[in-house]
Amino acid sequence: MEKMSRVTTALSSSAVSGRTMFCHLDAPANAISVCRDATQVVVAGRNIFKIYALEEEQFVEKLNLRVGRKPSLNFSCADVMWHQMEENLLATAATNGAVVTWNLGKPSRNKQDQLFTEHKRTVNKVCFHPTEVYMLLSGSQDGFMKCFDLRKKESVSTFSGQSESVRDVQFSMKDYFTFAASFENGNVQLWDIRRPDRYERMFTAHTGPVFCCDWHPDDRGWLATGGRDKMVKVWDMTTNRAKEIYCVQTIASVARVKWRPERKFHLATCSMMVDHNIYVWDVRRPFIPFATFEEHKDVTTGIVWRHQHDPHFLLSGSKDSTLYQHMFRDATRPVDKANPEGLCFGLFGDLAFAAKESLISSDANRKPYPGGDRRYPIFFFKKPDPTEQFAHVSSALSVFETDLDSNRMDWFVKTAQLYLLSGKPFAELCDHNAKVAQELKRPQVSTTWTMLRIMFSDPANLTTPGPNHNLSKLGTLPLMNSFSMKEMGSVMGTESRLDRSKGESRQDNILLEPGNPHISNNNEENEETEGSEGQAEYMFGDAELDDDDLYSMEHDNQTEEQEYTLPQEAFQLRHEIMDNPSAPEHLQQDKADSPHVSGNEAEVTCLTPIESFSLISISQPLFSPHLPASFFCPIVREMLSYYAEQGDVQMAVSVLIVLGDRIRKEIDDLTQEHWYMSYIDLLQRFELWNVSNEVIKLSTCSAITCLNQASTTLHINCSNCKRPMSNKGWICDRCHQCASVCAVCHHVVKGLFVWCQGCSHGGHLEHIMNWLKSSAHCPAGCGHLYVTRLW
């Protein structure tokens, strides 16, 4: 992929070769630098200052520059640089503010050459002039940059940045006199080395400190900067104003940036915190790194390309006390792992699918999505750039529309809007919701609500039942219980467990598996419900007459003998209910001609068709007549999970809210939170903001309720001067006018203010609503036409 030829010509005698390798240092490194001929590397840190030779297979320690029994702070290096002309010359920036030069040619053990202690604070950076042997530049925390002539004992010139601290200084590669300095306050300054009195040019590059900058080795006008704001920016300095030409967003603050040799658009970055990897970016493709080196275990503090004309070797030092040589061919390429396919469901069941063109076209003769009527293949092309080394992928996007009838989500929206979750007694809420479900032709949900009401209604309302309870085929029922009713009513309720495996099958009924129940009330009036072959059956508990129930299918005391037989009709999956409305219709008829009975004491169960019945009566209740509500908790819990798993998280959450404390402790918080989140997400997708807000408000999970406390600030602009309003809601500080005036009554609105996002006129909610009854235009007379959505 890379072109070796150019590289080898650039290298003098022998081409550099090697492999990915590393060595352990004794201490964390702060910076590294490489000598001109790429054979040695110097590593500097607080407690380390060593030179390693780069050999074919390994690093070999050549020299330890940190000598003395108790080395002084002059050895504690923040930065190091090896001179690119003079191979014996090094400079370090010490944390105590000293700038030190080292001469490797010295015969003594201590190679320290010169010591400049002119800076008052830590020196962050030293930089040799690329072509001038004796010129050294330093940038310090005290806000000054100093230029040293190594033949003299003192600095020759001092540049004041008028700012807190200098983070980086870099001589321009091409312009002899120019250098760039980056500052903690986000500025970058350009200086002429001959003019220490003021900078040539200054611009704000980042918000927060600019940690590093690097001139492009070939292109004279390009400067890359990296900052604490997690961005790398490339500036074109040839124009009058520095122009940002590329911007790469990384995931952590950028500590170092280095252009890659021989590759015009590549640069390497490493971060200062949290992220330990080294990234090589193609600045034209800022979203995904071109290559990544993931070897380090702690933050990388220094990176350098081994040879200024060889793009294949990268050296790096890290806080984890290792020194690495990375081979470019060993780098991971995140692009290869990126998934080029995308799939997304639309709100109303549409499906969009993007994939490699090749994949799509090979499938072209495959039958389209069964429910879908049409597909729209859309192709994207990008003009390939020969210098980009990214693989070119063209994708095709297909959109599938669903059959409008089969997958409609209307029921969801209606249910969400009509359900009552609070504000009434528990029983009424259940009744109401059951009714809503019933009207939407979702009998199973409706039944569930009714059952819930029965199970959890306050037992204090119910008095001791009669003694006789008859139940059929007790032993074979999976679970049975009885409840107490008012004087006259008693029911042998049959609780069947929700069969999860059935969930996938066509019938998801509440099953009462074997047998048929035989129920008698305390008046000894037996009523029998019989199912014959091919019939499903509703069995109802008998109960006292009560008028508040409109939908449960019951019969009262006066008509005990009456038999209710329903034609067998398994409940269909809810999506198909529209097509098969017979069962619900039947229920409604039932409701119409039977007197209303209190839902409190009703239990509705659906029976699977059974061929034969035997009626067995028992005279003792199976369980104590007062079953605590907690008895049902496991079943309800299971039921909720069942609904949630079915995808009907709406039901799960609604029941959770309505039951409140009755069930909350049974379900672990994480699951609850998960349900809430899914439901709220769904509601918001359907733009049911009010409902979603109500759900958030009613939820008891702290993680959910705090959603309402986030982002409660609304920033507004004054309608007169269009400036942000600072403190008070209705008077603008700048133009001293009342900002939010009602367009209808021309008074200041204090309270609910409703306004059009199109023309920004508005007023009292009531006034605007009245106005819009008679006119479709904006009341302010601006001519804006309110068509569908006012706010």
Binding site: R46, L73, A78, R228, M272, M273, V274, D298, Q709, T713
Partner: protein, 488 residues
């Protein structure tokens, strides 16, 4: 908000009613009660601070329109203007930044729920037995719907908060002992575990309130009138007179209490300025050796241990503060003692600007930015004055104070000559700093008065702000370093 929403007519009526009941003292414009037998709470103490005369504080806030508007905003947000803000109004720029940060920490988007935030504030303030902050936040805590049971003690609070107790204790008194194991224990505690974002929020709150407790004691903030210990129903002994007449410090006695001392210390400011000048000049001539520099830091560190507060003027907290924390015996222990050696924290290796900021901003967006502004504001705040002298570069003095505090926490700046501290900070000032930072509850009025006698109150408040922010940053650095170590 409760105070802010009374309709206009009502206010007028109330005013009318009130003026009928009360008469206004001609001296201090404070209302006093006419004999109508109505029980009206009366402040126990005058003004927001025990150390600073009320007049001085009000003078400042009345004049400056900027302060006025900051006050308005603060009042609109909280429905009250607390004494801390009043005292800080000497430095409106800082106050603005402080209030914005505090408001964000307590009210705005954040991973912790509101009552948790106030409870953590209570925990932190209680660590220093700061009844002022505890009472204030107990009120807020109940207002946002916190469970009153929790206030009986940490045992009654959820397990999750109990676990924070350990961190609170260490951070408040010996932050250098914080390790990544502490962090790990909080983050990996099954169902009671903290998330990283929550932990950062909690850490910022803890450090904020530890240092605010320092400020509260350092400036002698008096209890709010609506809190315990802030008011009394007992009528003033001479009911015909206003309290100011009974001379509680508003004027006469206060200024002349130590005429001798004043004369004695007459040249103090001049001496200090002279020293600063000398340091500035000598600096380049006489270069101390590296070894010398290292020993200077050690010496300053050890010396800070010897600065011991002798005064034992115990103030008894009115609410039983100690129930909010465990292990009351755990206090500041000097950083370097024989036996246990904790490695020095080098700022060059882990600084707020480079490392701390990035971590905070990553996990708790915007707060990093606000704290950064606040630190910079506190560090760079200057009016170029010293007492009566103008156009003085005080950066050296401010840096000495800042670094001295960090030194007490074992944080070292490689590029600082700790000899400067000895030159610039005299013993009584060191005592004050040490007391305020390490055991603020022991701060007394005498300490406050005995340092920098010729300086103005606003300058002493300025010093307090520096101390507070330096302390907060020191604690934060240790906490964030531990979290970083846990993460890598």
């Amino acid at each position: 908000m409760r105070h802010a929403v009374a309709p206009a007519e009502n206010v007028e009526n109330n005013c009318f009613a009130v003026t009928r009941l009360l008469k206004i003292c001609t001296h201090c414009e404070r209302l006093s009660k006419k004999d109508l037998g109505v029980r009206i709470p009366r402040p126990l103490v005058n003004g927001p601070s025990r150390f600073i005369p009320e007049k001085e504080i009000l003078k400042v806030s009345k004049v400056d329109p900027r302060t006025q508007s900051i006050f308005e905003d603060a009042f609109a947000a909280l429905g009250r203007l607390d004494n801390i803000s009043l005292v800080m109004s000497f430095h409106p720029q800082y106050l603005e930044s402080f209030l914005r940060t505090q408001h964000y920490l307590l009210q705005m988007d954040g991973p912790l729920s509101l009552h948790y935030r106030h409870y953590i504030g209570i925990m932190a303030a209680a660590r220093h037995q700061c009844s002022y902050l505890v009472n204030l936040h107990v009120n807020y805590f109940l207002q946002v719907g916190g469970n009153p049971k929790w206030l009986n003690g940490l045992d009654e609070a959820p397990q999750k908060l109990q676990q924070l107790g350990e961190l609170n204790k260490i951070l408040a008194h010996r932050p250098w002992l914080l390790t990544k194991e502490h962090i790990e224990r909080l983050l990996k505690a099954e169902e009671h575990s903290w998330s990283l974002a929550e932990l950062i929020h909690a850490v910022v709150l803890l450090t904020h309130y530890h240092s605010l407790a320092s400020f509260t004691f350092g400036c002698g903030i008096t209890p709010e009138i609506h809190c315990d210990g802030g008011h009394t129903f007992r009528p003033p002994s001479l009911s015909q007179y206003c309290v100011c007449d009974i001379a509680n410090g508003n004027g006469h006695a206060y200024h002349h209490d130590d005429p001798l001392g004043n004369q004695e210390m007459c040249g103090e400011v001049e001496v200090l300025m002279e020293r600063m000048k000398q340091l500035q000049e000598c600096r380049d001539d006489e270069e101390a050796s590296q070894e010398e520099m290292a020993t200077r830091f050690e010496r300053e560190k050890t010396e800070s241990m010897l600065v011991v507060t002798t005064e034992d003027e115990e103030c008894v907290p009115s609410r039983d503060i100690s129930r909010h924390f465990e292990d009351p015996s755990y206090g500041y222990k000097d950083f370097s003692r024989r036996g246990e050696h904790v490695p020095t924290f080098r700022v060059q290796d882990y600084s707020w600007e480079d490392h701390g900021f990035s971590l905070v901003n990553r996990l708790y967006p915007d707060v990093g930015q606000m704290l950064d502004e606040k630190f910079q504001m506190a560090y760079n705040l200057t009016y170029n004055t010293m007492a009566t002298h103008k156009d003085v570069d005080t950066s050296m003095l401010r840096r000495a104070i800042w670094n001295y505090i960090h030194c007490m926490f074992g944080i070292r700046y490689d590029d600082y000559d700790y000899g400067e501290i000895n030159e610039l900070l005299d013993r009584s000032f060191k005592i004050y700093i040490k007391t305020m930072v390490c055991s603020p509850e022991k701060t007394t009025k005498r300490m406050y008065e005995s340092f920098w006698r010729q300086f103005q109150h606003s300058e002493k408040v300025h010093v307090n702000l520096l101390l507070m922010e330096a302390r907060m940053q020191a604690e934060l650095l240790y906490a964030l370093r531990a979290i970083t170590r846990y993460m890598t």
